[in-house]
């Protein structure tokens, strides 16, 4: 099983890197771009556990390690 986890800043937290990318896109003429948020992607391979347990593990790992809950949120899905 493989899970993909997306970690990004909470909406309430300023994302200086996303802002910079947005400004660059505006400079290039992409006026339709209203906002950019930058995040991180993790792909975790799991084995020897049921799909249900794997789901629990991924959520736990994301909460405890991959994301800092003070500033970040996460979302994840199984890839296979």
């Amino acid at each position: 099983m493989k899970a993909r986890i997306l970690v990004s800043f909470k909406d309430s937290v300023l994302d200086p890197q996303g802002q910079t990318v947005k400004n660059a896109l505006h400079t290039m003429g992409y006026a339709a771009v209203k906002d950019v948020r930058q995040g991180k992607v993790f792909e975790i391979e799991l084995g020897g556990v049921s799909r249900k347990d794997a789901a629990k593990l991924v959520a736990e790992i994301s909460r405890k390690v991959l994301a800092n809950p003070i500033i970040e949120k996460f979302d994840w899905q199984f890839l296979k």
């Binding site: 800043f9 300023l14 200086p16 890197q17 800092n68 003070i70 500033i71």
Partner: protein, 248 residues
Amino acid sequence: MRFGVVQFPGSNCDLDTFHVLRDVAKQDTVLLWHKDHDLQEADCVVLPGGFSYGDYLRSGAIARFSPLMQEVRAFARRGGLVLGICNGFQILLELGLLPGAMIRNKDLKFLCRHVHVRVENDRTPFTRAGRKGQVLTIPIAHFDGNYYAPPRTLAALERDRRVVFRYCGPDGELSDEANVNGSLNAIAGIINEGGNVMGLMPHPERASEALLGSVDGRLVFESLVRSFAPRRTRQPPPASAGKVRHDR
């Protein structure tokens, strides 16, 4: 007084801090290895600056899981003195011994230069050799020093006077320009509820010898030595001295 300076893979201010504590502050100082479980009877644990574990994942995010940090957490909760400088501050945030988090500097630049910081609270073991409003010149060197905390946490920090240092101009004035990394409320250093754990982004160990352009950083180390002196002569602490004092 005995200081213990923790070494992680990627620490790079460990030996500078060790040098200042031993040779400038003239204190008994030992190096502590991140994989050990032994604080070697240190009275104050110092987490030095650097890039522990390459700053992978987030600054300080991996170092918090090291074996020694579990001892440091227990030590802090018993009321032990812990000082986190720069990356050490980031580790304390990740560990939950201090509230909040660090995000990238507002202009996305690594900032390495002298800045002015104002002493906001001189009634801590880390600042009692100074006075409120005093302006110090101390270097910073970081990429992720933009302090963030949710509104409620921030309000509590201000209310309880737990903001210890703020970025300011040469005369102590606050401005967006002086707040070099964009920290909320220009926060450069904070202390925990128990008053025994402090983190700051500036590097006092790089401003402790005249040869390096400033001796203002000595204030932190002198304060610690001064705070510790009366403790040592006190009667043995009552059983309740081990009471848990946590931050969250």
